[in-house]
């Protein structure tokens, strides 16, 4: 039997508000569409509904930009209140040019606008990334186990741009239950030579795999990846962060 797996969008998740039980929404919606969650399923959840449920929303009218934010915003041609929020969510500015602000978040992710996003939230509001996406993923995993009796894996995902290539791809910013990297270190090719490209970012590949069935208009904010054998692990997403000393693009 060839290796195979399936990716299934979860439809019918309602609009999420602060305090909502996202795990219940996903469990119920998956059951309603006759794809109830099963043990070893990987559940990929869009960051936006996690942030909303956790109340990670900021009303721009309530933000007073600092002098630094005012100055940067003028150079970028952006809303100074938005720049203020982005800087609060960042520990370092990586690039600032052509209206683009790329920063390193407090979690260590490098992305545009520190992941702060204005789409699919109320007007005049912005959504921040979850404060601790690995914790968010663990809580979703625990709650799904309680509700559905299924021991699943969880990814909290967001769409990030990347250098050199057009278009965003979905990546894992938090995860629970499995090891995000798959290593071939020590294995050899048929010629007996150690493999070169030895560590694959499996969690990012599976987050990417989920995106094509997820709706950018926020109508399908979660997907089930079914049939992939994952290696249990409790390190969360941290192994996906490149050590800055080994990074040539900071």
């Amino acid at each position: 039997m060839p290796p195979r797996y399936e990716v299934i969008g979860v439809e019918g998740i309602p609009e999420v508000r602060p305090g909502d039980d996202v795990a219940r929404f996903i469990v119920d919606a998956a059951a309603r569409q006759s794809t109830p969650l099963r043990a070893a399923d990987l559940v990929v959840v869009g960051q936006k509904i996690v942030s909303k449920a956790e109340g990670r929303l900021v009303r721009l009218a309530d933000v007073t930009p600092s002098p630094v934010a005012l100055s940067m915003a003028a150079g970028l041609g952006r809303d100074p209140r938005l720049v203020e929020v982005i800087l609060r969510e960042s520990r370092r500015v990586v690039r600032m040019d052509q209206g683009v602000l790329i920063t390193e978040t407090h979690h260590g992710w490098v992305c545009a606008n520190a992941g702060v996003d204005q789409s699919n939230v109320e007007l005049d509001c912005v959504a921040l990334l979850p404060e601790d996406p690995d914790r968010s993923a663990r809580l979703l995993r625990d709650r799904i186990r309680d509700l559905a009796g299924a021991d699943v894996f969880v990814i909290v995902a967001d769409t990030f741009g990347r250098p050199w290539r057009e278009g965003l791809t979905n990546v894992a910013i938090g995860l629970a239950g499995f090891a995000p990297l798959r290593s071939y270190l020590g294995e050899r090719d048929p010629a007996g030579r150690p493999l070169q490209a030895t560590i694959l970012a499996l969690a990012d590949e599976l987050a990417a795999a989920a995106e094509p069935v997820m709706g950018k208009l926020d109508r399908i904010p979660a997907a089930i990846v079914r049939g992939i054998a994952l290696t249990p692990g409790e390190e969360g997403s941290k192994p996906l962060l490149r050590d800055p000393v080994r990074d040539l693009f900071r």
Copy 2:
């Protein structure tokens, strides 16, 4: 019905040699495992078997390093013959540090070692990327149509590293039959606001989706992605190349 698709590894493809008919290998192997290719399937093929079939192999014993390659190789602690091959495959060096050589290939892809790889080829040989991976994809597509009567889409994929994040992911370096970017430009969120993250790199996400069923040890060098609706397009992979003037990391 929720949106769903499936990813199926293609087992039993023999060791590929220059001049081999890779399309026939894939068509036959897919049929043997009872997943014959169907119209609208996306076939993701690892770059290595395409390069081998196209004879894109270089014996290091036949390479005379230039003075520049000798000097760079000394700084990097690498084989000067390998550095010579990498430089020949490159139009620009993007970063050179810590033993890592990141270049822009003649196609415009930015990656480590210009995609030159020593794994899964004969000892003392290296494999280059296909000369024109879009053409390779088109030829595979045409040949599969002839052999299987199925109008499929094709991606030629390789695993590339990326800044800031650990681990490689599979990306598209050539493709045929569909538009690699999916755009939401002009669409609005439920609050009526134009969507921010508007262009997704669908081809890279589907290349990534294929990787978990493909064998790094070269035993499963192709996969079928079945059930995704793709938009026909004849531009190949070019839309995935970011315009250098809009790239902040060169």
